[in-house]
């Protein structure tokens, strides 16, 4: 039977190299807590046995994907971080020059680490409410490393618990329809977003020419060199006047427009 330390070390190294996620020394409880249900479902005798199989080079996706899903954090809610939305409305969008009368340019956004979709749907609601004409010309690519999260995001269905997290009742009745005991984002908002499973660390960006790239609360999980590489790649696929939006506490050593908002560096 494999040693727990052996599987823990293998998991840490796999998460660091494949997903850019640095697990701390004292986080081995996460392995047991998040992976034992997965190991059981996939009929492995122990978590250790499952981990060693899943992180093996060449392991099939059906074994590895659930491990990535379970180990990547999905802490998310609606309209997270009020100053972000205020800056988007008052500083960021006006600066892009897309809202001048007569402008008919497309508005293209890449939202990375979309998790289960709350942020990207908050964005479509926000645009529809505040910039209805621009909203019509908006296309969004939303990506996440977790296949399960992307599937849930694409479905756009949320439980009472999920809907309660930061989504006001006026917005709930305006933008959702009933789906059994749950709530489903209305079709015209879901249509605005293309969801793709994508690894920020190992894969090239999912497109070019973005007005905005949003990757909030994901860089904090990466070690510094990975963070720098990911930001550089994102800057490289932005339009010359494009902007990068990250979490307000994830400071970059670049000139910022307002906390968390960075113009493309020259």
């Amino acid at each position: 039977m494999p040693e727990p330390t052996q599987s823990w070390n293998a998991l840490r190294s796999f998460m660091a190299t494949t997903c850019g996620v640095a697990l701390a020394d004292d986080q081995s409880y996460l392995m047991e807590a998040r992976l034992s249900p997965v190991a059981k479902t996939l009929n492995y005798r122990t978590v250790d046995e499952y981990v060693l199989e899943a992180v093996r080079p060449g392991a099939p996706n059906r074994v590895t994907a659930p491990l990535i899903d379970a180990m990547t954090t999905h802490e998310t809610y609606w309209f997270r971080d009020t100053p972000f939305w205020k800056a988007l409305q008052e500083q960021v969008i006006p600066r892009l020059g897309l809202t001048e009368p007569g402008s008919n340019r497309a508005f293209t956004i890449w939202l990375a680490a979309c998790s289960t979709g709350q942020e990207v749907y908050s964005l479509t609601m926000f645009l529809e409410e505040n910039f209805p004409l621009l909203h019509q010309r908006t296309t969004i690519i939303a990506t996440d490393v977790s296949e399960a999260a992307v599937q849930q995001a694409k479905a756009g269905v949320y439980t009472v618990f999920e809907a309660n997290r930061g989504l006001s009742a006026p917005r709930l009745v305006k933008h959702f329809e009933r789906a059994g005991a749950n709530f489903k984002v209305k079709e015209h908002l879901r249509r605005k977003v293309t969801f793709v499973t994508h690894n920020l660390v190992t894969q090239a960006p999912p497109g070019v020419g973005f007005d905005l790239v949003l990757m909030r609360n994901v860089l904090i999980y990466f070690p510094e060199p990975t963070r720098r590489a990911v930001v550089q790649r994102a800057m490289g696929v932005m339009k010359p006047n494009g902007l990068l939006g990250i979490g307000a506490t994830e400071l970059l050593t670049l000139p910022s427009l307002s906390p968390g908002w960075y113009p493309r560096s020259p």
């Binding site: 009020t82 009472v160 618990f161 309660n164 930061g166 006001s168 009742a169 709930l172 009745v173 009933r178």
Partner: protein, 122 residues
């Protein structure tokens, strides 16, 4: 900042009171709509009401309508809290004058976020 918590379940009132107190609110409890209205009269200045829907004597929806009919309370922020989580009911509560609607079951964290959403400077 004073808040009024109206629910016929003592346990729910306690959870709500603790959540609000942790945000710095001073909290008064009432166990039905009629008691809620009386408490509001007594309090004078009250910025926030958390109102359950299904309660004996006077339900939350009736209480919300009575509060909104009284110009003295026009600035009070009301959050309706109910397990009646269908869009039509939520709309009905908003039409009656509730500012927001939290569905049961809710987590304390969710309640606090929603309170901050409607009373940003609390």
């Amino acid at each position: 900042m004073k808040a009024l918590v109206v629910d016929d379940s003592k346990m729910v009132r306690t959870v709500q009171q603790r959540a609000l107190e942790s945000m710095g609110w001073e909290v008064v409890q009432a166990s039905n709509g009629e008691e809620g209205l009386a408490a509001l009269e007594r309090l004078g200045a009250c910025q926030l009401v958390l109102a359950d829907w299904q309660m004996p004597v006077m339900d939350g929806l009736a209480m919300v309508k009575r509060i909104r009919a009284d110009t003295r309370f026009k600035d009070v922020v009301i959050i309706m809290i109910s397990s009646n989580a269908v869009l039509e009911s939520i709309q009905e509560a908003l039409d009656a004058g509730a500012n927001d609607f939290v569905m049961k079951p809710f987590s304390v964290e969710a309640l606090k976020e929603r309170v901050s959403g409607v009373v940003p400077h609390a």
